[in-house]
């Protein structure tokens, strides 16, 4: 807290010395920008960006979880899908932007698609790894206790065991998705949203607004990560405490 205050003071002083809004808008100028646009941020930009984000991460989960789980559990699924995953995964998500525009036009779906491409693989890979590292003794214990069907073993054993790994994957995915979101909106896949606004204010050389949107993105990203960690890691995965010591 103290160091943040220090940063703000230094920033304000530096901006006053430089005295050029284009190079470095001051803290006060950014605050002024905030007071002018906070309604617009809350009612227009934020909902749109969260829509892109939710679309991409949500569909990413829906796709990555079943694929990662079946690749981790069934050998044939692994052999069948692994080559595909290994070829598509190294393509940087942003390289899909042209196709996103061709396929979806300048729509929310297009931005969501880029976010999806960023989110899907970390979740898939971590789900796969979580399933793969499942110790045999848990599976055998479950079998001896009456869980003999694959569905039961996945539901009661593999999935809960892999959950910390999956949660880690989702966290990484959210971080990447957040970056992809801004890039996708900036590159014109969308005509609104936080990332889009950074670019449009840059065209207008309103650097105080650019900086304001940057800060909003940073704070939101932090909030997303923290709330995820709080809900998932502290509450749902309490048993992990013993494994991390």
């Amino acid at each position: 807290m103290v160091s943040l205050l220090g940063l703000i003071v230094v920033w304000q002083l530096a901006a006053m010395v430089i005295d050029d809004t284009l190079l470095l808008p001051s803290f006060v100028q950014v605050l002024a920008a905030l007071s002018n646009t906070w309604q617009e941020i809350l009612t227009e930009d934020l909902p749109i960006s969260l829509l892109h984000f939710g679309l991409g991460v949500g569909i990413g989960l829906l796709v990555a979880l079943p694929i990662g789980m079946s690749m981790g559990w069934f050998r044939t699924a692994d052999r069948l899908l692994d080559p595909i995953v290994e070829v598509v995964r190294p393509i940087p998500p942003l390289a899909w932007i042209p196709f996103a525009i061709v396929w979806f036009g300048l729509t929310n779906e297009a931005a969501g698609f880029i976010v999806f491409m960023g989110a899907v693989f970390p979740i898939l890979i971590n789900t796969y790894i979580g399933f793969r590292s499942l110790p045999r003794v848990y599976v055998e214990s479950a079998k001896v206790l009456g869980a003999t069907k694959d569905v039961d073993l996945i539901r009661y054993i593999a999935f809960p065991y892999a959950l910390p790994s999956i949660a880690g994957g989702i966290r990484i995915a959210m971080g990447i998705a957040w970056m992809c979101l801004v890039a996708a909106e900036m590159f014109g896949v969308s005509t609104s949203g936080l990332g889009y606004k950074i670019w449009s204010y840059y065209y207008l050389h309103k650097m105080d607004y650019v900086l304001l949107y940057m800060i909003v993105l940073g704070v939101l990203g932090l909030l997303l990560d923290r709330s995820f960690r709080y809900v998932v890691e502290e509450r749902m995965l309490r048993w992990r405490a013993g494994l991390m010591q």
Partner: protein
């Protein structure tokens, strides 16, 4: 009536493309409510035999019957306590015990009630809502025993369950196990390295020889329980088993 019948069981493993005979022609009938200990040198196939009875491995030849039914795979009527700790770390103690009932579709209230009863039997009521990592090794094995017993198994298979415990805890666990066994009266097949443990626990001790694993000798222990670990009868049997095992180690 013989509850567990092991008939001509043999097991081959493929090691580097070669057949390795882990078990050869094992024949044994274990009566209802009997407590049988298997003892033998390391690598003689004790775990392998237990896994075959559990249905986790298939025998290469022969078969195992439980109450006349051929064993084809794992099932809750044969509970198993593993040598390594096997509690599900993501479930609390009570939920570990309730696992088998949950699979059977028993409703939550009854599940908890019955699990509590077994938790009490192993003396861990206070630890109901803890996670396995908060328990000591002895406690973990007690929970594992309760988890197997709640399914009301016909046979309880135990693979050196107290192997990782210190001598003191081990002695306590042995008497606890006997108390539980007398209460539950299920059949117990118990693998151990310790001659003392076998003599303290068993109705019959099966001595195995190594490579390939065969039954070398079966000794009935008729000493009434609780047995005194240092009595002359116990000492006599111990000497006999140790001599048996010694000749095994020399020949293997």
């Amino acid at each position: 009536m013989a509850l567990l019948e092991i008939k001509n069981v043999g097991k081959l493993f493929q090691v580097d493309g070669q057949d390795m005979e882990a078990l050869q022609d094992i024949n044994l009938s274990i009566r209802d409510h009997e407590f049988v200990c298997f003892i033998g040198p390391s690598g003689c196939g004790k775990t392998t035999l237990l896994r075959i009875i559990a249905g986790l491995d298939d025998p290469s030849s022969g078969s195992v019957y439980l109450d006349g039914d051929l064993i084809m795979g794992p099932g809750p009527e044969r509970g198993m306590v593993f040598q390594e700790y096997s509690l599900f770390p993501w479930r609390t103690v009570i939920d570990n015990i309730a696992f088998g009932l949950e699979l059977k579709g028993v409703n939550k209230k009854e599940r908890l009630e019955r699990s509590k009863q077994y938790l009490k039997m192993v003396g861990l009521e206070r630890f109901s809502d803890r996670y396995p990592h908060e328990l000591s090794g002895g406690m973990k094995q007690r929970v594992a025993i309760a988890r197997a017993l709640v399914n009301d198994p016909k046979a309880l298979l135990m693979d050196e369950p107290f192997g990782a415990l210190d001598a003191q805890t081990r002695n306590i666990m042995q008497s606890e196990l006997l108390r539980i066994w007398e209460e539950e009266r299920s059949t117990v097949v118990f693998v151990t390295h310790s001659v003392d443990e076998a003599i303290y626990l068993a109705d019959r001790i099966v001595i195995m020889s190594a490579r390939p694993g065969r039954i070398k000798d079966v000794i009935s222990i008729d000493i009434p329980r609780p047995r005194v670990r240092t009595s002359t009868e116990v000492n006599g049997i111990r000497d006999r088993i140790l001599a048996d095992l010694k000749s095994e180690i020399v020949t293997s």
